[in-house]
Symmetry: D2
Subunit: 363 residues, 4 copies
Amino acid sequence: MAGNTTGNLFKVTTFGSSHGTALGAVIDGCPAGLKLSAEDIQRELDRRRPGTSKITTPRGETDQVEVLSGIFEGKTDGTPIAAVVYNKDADSSAYKPFRNKPRPGHGDYTWTAKYGTYDYRGGGRGSGRNTIGHVIGGAVAKKLLEELDIQVVAHVTQVADVKAQHLAYSRLAEYVGQNQVRCADQKAAKLMEKKILEAKEKGDSLGGVVETIAFNVPAGLGEPVFDKLDADLARALMGIGAVKGVEIGFGFQLAEATASTTNDEYYLEGEQIKTTTNTAGGIVGGISNGMPIVARMAVKPTPSISSVQKTVDLEKMEETEIQIKGRHDPCICPRVTPVAEAAVAMVLVDHLMRSGFINPRHV
Amino acid sequence: MAGNTTGNLFKVTTFGSSHGTALGAVIDGCPAGLKLSAEDIQRELDRRRPGTSKITTPRGETDQVEVLSGIFEGKTDGTPIAAVVYNKDADSSAYKPFRNKPRPGHGDYTWTAKYGTYDYRGGGRGSGRNTIGHVIGGAVAKKLLEELDIQVVAHVTQVADVKAQHLAYSRLAEYVGQNQVRCADQKAAKLMEKKILEAKEKGDSLGGVVETIAFNVPAGLGEPVFDKLDADLARALMGIGAVKGVEIGFGFQLAEATASTTNDEYYLEGEQIKTTTNTAGGIVGGISNGMPIVARMAVKPTPSISSVQKTVDLEKMEETEIQIKGRHDPCICPRVTPVAEAAVAMVLVDHLMRSGFINPRHV
Amino acid sequence: MAGNTTGNLFKVTTFGSSHGTALGAVIDGCPAGLKLSAEDIQRELDRRRPGTSKITTPRGETDQVEVLSGIFEGKTDGTPIAAVVYNKDADSSAYKPFRNKPRPGHGDYTWTAKYGTYDYRGGGRGSGRNTIGHVIGGAVAKKLLEELDIQVVAHVTQVADVKAQHLAYSRLAEYVGQNQVRCADQKAAKLMEKKILEAKEKGDSLGGVVETIAFNVPAGLGEPVFDKLDADLARALMGIGAVKGVEIGFGFQLAEATASTTNDEYYLEGEQIKTTTNTAGGIVGGISNGMPIVARMAVKPTPSISSVQKTVDLEKMEETEIQIKGRHDPCICPRVTPVAEAAVAMVLVDHLMRSGFINPRHV
Amino acid sequence: MAGNTTGNLFKVTTFGSSHGTALGAVIDGCPAGLKLSAEDIQRELDRRRPGTSKITTPRGETDQVEVLSGIFEGKTDGTPIAAVVYNKDADSSAYKPFRNKPRPGHGDYTWTAKYGTYDYRGGGRGSGRNTIGHVIGGAVAKKLLEELDIQVVAHVTQVADVKAQHLAYSRLAEYVGQNQVRCADQKAAKLMEKKILEAKEKGDSLGGVVETIAFNVPAGLGEPVFDKLDADLARALMGIGAVKGVEIGFGFQLAEATASTTNDEYYLEGEQIKTTTNTAGGIVGGISNGMPIVARMAVKPTPSISSVQKTVDLEKMEETEIQIKGRHDPCICPRVTPVAEAAVAMVLVDHLMRSGFINPRHV
């Protein structure tokens, strides 16, 4: 029961590996009648594409999407939307030295332990390139969210020890777009960029934190007791490569708090019930309360670094060393923002459908 | 598509609410031939039962389990295991004031927003009492893990600002049992207990952190790209009431780190591949690597506190105030440890079955 | 991955065995706000209960249902509905001779082949008694169908070589209730009853055909290409014990036909699109067309008969003989009608929810 | 929750429509280490391809498959296998007259009722062409079955009123390949062919029966009480376009029988338990018993015929007439045999995995 499908009503199945023929996704459960074009998907793919700034890997992937099915006369028709990105010019030669010699921090060893084999070329399906599938699914999810006026924005709030200041949400998307780091705090963004370039220089890499916020989500999303909205968000975000922690709202800060200072009290704003604070990040008892949904994820430093590392030769079963050369992201946080948005968007659409906010037959 | 079932091959469906007739669980997918008795389940239920120490709520719930099906001549027979705990003497009168007046921090409002109705008595199904179902499922899961010599232990590592020292894992289970707080560091445990009693005195409550460790898990568990082992653990833990954050291994610490200092390098210990460090918490690329699995969760302060709180009367749609009296846990962390173990145990068994480590027909 | 759950959005999990402590079901996904009582379920259970006429087994099972959860103030509250029937006075002694000696036509051998063990007492979970769970689920499904004015009626159309005449549908439910055989054609009913009593006299048993019709189902139900409405009906009906064939509409008759005589042509009745004939049984391309849904199932003769039969002693691995004594249904068709209705009702509700005709949060 | 995925552990998701860009399938859950090539899939696709004999449609579809992922160095690697067939030269002009005028017997109207839109070109996704996806999935399933020495063969046993004689199974596959009708009884095959050509001449079409047999299936497959092996086979076969009935073993004949003459008694053949007869078609109590699995399906006459038919103009909402010209199969039975094999093969592999007969990680 391999886990390449996510979602219950809005189902996204992804396939493909870094150096195989193609990567792609099949989206099953998108209602008919949604305006959708290849360009809508391409726009999101371009946001995750590398080589667009000096702080990302210079690999020149073009990542052109082709839609194979599911669109009829400019709109979805209720049938599965299949979309593929063919791999071009993948150079596998650089990866030959790692055949049977798992790179620390990558999935090489664990995938081999599981499957008895591993496509060592560029990380195979364990590569960050598999998030092309996420982004395709997320692009369609975002189009559906637009119909309900729901917006999802991810931004980098921390790189190494540089933390962004918390800014008013109202202009978040605008601010995030103003720098390569995708940090809404322009001052912090500059420091982050500097840190990243220093790490790049040393052949090292940095971790960070990405926060994703969903605005205008209606109250009532989430299915207790196991398929809670926060549980599903945690699963989706933790499932992104390199993510090692997830928080909702004030998260781990609440471990140090008292209820008397952090309970979100209710008040009325016109006809609407709101909370005076949002320590809960928009989710209480596993169900959305109408406040902005706030989810943060800890991203570990990209494991591909240039220093010599110890490993084991799986064939000879003896200890050995490897050195990774090549073009890697010194900090994956900026490029992971569209993936985080995609992951959150897919969860939201799935729960909107489960809760009946989206007509499953046609919009 | 209500979410009261968890697991794919080892499926646990739970039901029941705080003040209804009964709570329980149906476990479908447990192989035949496993020695199992009601006592095995009762033992785990007794660990989550309140009223067993001065730092928990004094409510006197006996929580006797009755097994309705699935056991034949002392062993599971491959059919669903249904088990129930009837509610006794639940006193609903204390909850009348909260009818239509949602308590801050509880799911009262969000459940009403979703279902248009809410069983206000004792939190209904949103109550912590619904974890009786988790613990029943976990008890069966643990019996299966025993067959593979896998052990799951949860302990409290933080209460408010008191943090436990990291101890050697070898005697963890033993140390945890030596105090009421379920903290392996006895010194910290005393400070935690003091803090909890102070909060209780004030009618306030505290948050904390619970860490769960799984020993002896084989390499190769986890289904990329969406059903990764860490993703499923995050979902299971975040889905426990009051949990607002989840970390695997070094978690959020990795956001501040460099790969050169945190990549776990491989070495050989006899025939076994191990890592020199375990910043990954036993999971890389979504698949277990054979090292101990380490997952931490942030628990928010119990929202039931004695101070006056602002809320909204949902019927009259006007702002109002409530005051919660009654017997509540000043810090839920100790009582949540068996629930965390249950959640992790169920995820592990499900993945062991998905990966073929457990014969689905009979053990 | 044991298969004791059916449905995707309206999920019914059943448990229990013939001579265990109890049988029951958990229904997850029923919207809140539906008026429901234990009596609604009891009424359906009484229809499948044996011992109510001379053509069924004289076993005196009372089958009293107890609802454990999911109903609050007379209505469903969106949480799982758990209901149980405790077994009373089950006499297992009669089954001792069949321990390790599988009865021909029953699941004794195949269950043992699968699980390595088998609850030989009264057929264990393989017993027809497990349909108590189906009927509980169906009772709730029927209440939901009532809200949409959809009616499901099953009737016996054949017993051995006696075939009922096709009658106008309009008074079907009424006619079916007028005899013990549950055959709408009163003349045929008398012949069927005579045949059944003759078989009973000889210690033999008869097969038959049960037709289930669903009236007023809206067009648009069914999810191609795999979860078609007819595919799901076939699965649900074939899954009932003793069923060996399923037809939709004209079924196997269409194998002998030409399209020029059997294509259902369209016409307008007011604003409504109808077909002049209904050879398709209300389903085309896997999706309902608004005409009555017609599904028939072939029921094999009850395998428990009084003649000596050959079998194998599984322990000694040698050929042997057994003779079944006891109280068995000489033709299960009449008692299977409420089960067929339950199966069809559950499939319809599931598809109504999948197609958005029922609000998943509350009715 | 659109239904374009089938299987639980061996999951096949299909996509694409008759006149869209491409059709294809993604197979998730195939263990690593299975020898697989594009040729293995192409071979099965060629068997369902039209235009290969005078009794099928002369449409010249080449249906070349391209494998996009999941194969590494000649073997599956545990990641999803995606395969596509691009549509070539589809001529949509012939279908313009049917825009908004649903063809009787086709899904045109029901799909429109559901989705509010319909790709009228060549039946869209409702076209028989969507079975390309089934056959891709089935080709991989068959490769897995080969590893367990399990063989699946479908043959035509009836066309209109011509019924094939029952032949010994031992040379079934060989005999089926000796004529275009795919009927093992060569005499009947000739009569069938004659009937089909006569119908073709008249612009009419014929129904028939296809039987699928699986040899060497181990005892113990199937998950009661809802996911029984026969229930899943019924679902898979009924889900194939044009199928209106499914039988297991003696099927509807058992409705007329007595248990004393049809119960399959057990005997020993060496160490193996067998039944003297196989009226059950290899499945008792929903679980396989080790005898050959026998499933038959009723196929309705292809609805595309050349006579004038009544329908409704969905836009103008008035009654009208249409006449279908073009190249259609006068009897779809022969071409549906590889689809039936694929459907049965996928169900078997899924259940073999669910029952632990296939290692889910690698073969």
